[in-house]
Symmetry: C2
Subunit: 222 residues, 2 copies
């Protein structure tokens, strides 16, 4: 897109936020970043502004940038939208995926079984992302796929928390199996419903998710 250097910064900072190296609330002052990346303030500012418009950081006039803290209300709102987009992806994917694509998805799914058995949380998390991205792309609606991934990234800092919930992996794997089954049966409506609930409530309830969130990651007054 834009400059080469500023694009690198963007990717790196985005990665840091998504993986939790930079947690919500942290300050990002320009000077430190210029030193860290050995560039001038100009590309740093461009990267920051891009992050801001993606929604990953907040920039207040004359007060610098901070990793975005999302209020509880907004987080719930985001999941509400996320569920709908994910459901639409599933609906369209079920109608539009070729048999080859479905088969590919099944293989990808079955390959993750070993990770569940060994309890490899981090690796499973990445594989999980890929599984869902396969469905996004399966919708054959590129714009939708990108929007959904963007939103997924935006809530990622908060999802990673709930990684180590007991039996989380087994539950996720079982739900994936059901979703895959619905796709193979070409039951679009059921795929959509399964995905909508899979996104947020995963296993038990949304309450579990909320309860396990460290409060300091949320905006004050939540």
């Amino acid at each position: 897109m834009a400059a080469k250097r500023s694009e690198e910064l963007l990717k790196e900072l985005e990665h840091d936020i998504l993986t939790g190296t930079l947690t919500p609330g942290m300050k990002l002052d320009e000077k430190s970043l210029t030193e860290r990346f050995n560039v001038s303030r100009t590309p740093v500012r461009e990267a920051l502004h891009k992050l801001a418009s993606i929604g990953l950081i907040d920039i207040l006039p004359r007060r610098g940038a901070t990793v975005r803290k999302v209020g509880l209300k907004e987080l719930i709102e985001m999941f509400e939208v996320m569920a709908e987009l994910e459901g639409l992806c599933g609906l369209l994917a079920t109608q539009r995926m070729t048999n080859d694509e479905v088969q590919n998805l099944r293989h990808r799914h079955e390959d993750t079984y070993i990770l569940v058995e060994n309890g490899q949380y981090d690796t499973y998390y990445d594989a999980n992302v890929l599984f869902h991205e396969c469905i996004y792309k399966g919708s054959h609606n590129n714009f939708l796929a990108e929007q959904t991934m963007n939103l997924r990234n935006r809530v990622a800092p908060y999802r990673r928390i709930q990684l180590r919930t007991p039996r989380r992996l087994e539950t996720s794997f079982a739900e994936h199996e059901k979703i895959l089954h619905a796709i193979e049966a070409r039951d679009a409506e059921q795929t959509s419903e399964l995905l909508k609930s899979h996104v947020t409530v995963q296993q038990g309830s949304f309450n579990n998710f909320i309860s396990t969130l460290p409060m300091d990651l949320l905006r004050d007054g939540s």
Copy 2:
């Protein structure tokens, strides 16, 4: 958000694109903009980058910025997502709007009747936007409302074209009446369905919309 000056530029340029003063494909070179707004290149570049991340313009490395030309395929994809978001807004709004909010919406709707009778296209267009924004906000999901408005803005340059389709105003007004009726009846499912179809196919068919699009607004190969 960011700087005061660059924020003004952003708004003004966005307005120009949304109203059609700047049409898809036009080049936006930095020098002209610095002269037009009497500022240096720095705020100009910031505004351009923001527009790029909103999706209204394209920035190619070392090749400048152009008002975004959306391919036909992508345009269809965007409307597919738009319909879903609009439908979700309607679904939630029907469940969550207070009686006062519904009443307010009805008044707003009835006020537009005079515009239909007089064939005041431009004024009706604005009123139409407000009507829909009322529903967005009625979802009581601020994040969803913003996302929907953003997407609406992104396709706005292409919607404005079809303004003068014969009997477009009457049809739109009648559909609004039906939507409003479903909301008043608290029939969330019907509201959602009505809105989904209202967004795109308006009156006859999506084909009509596609057919009336000036081809030079679309990317090559569409």
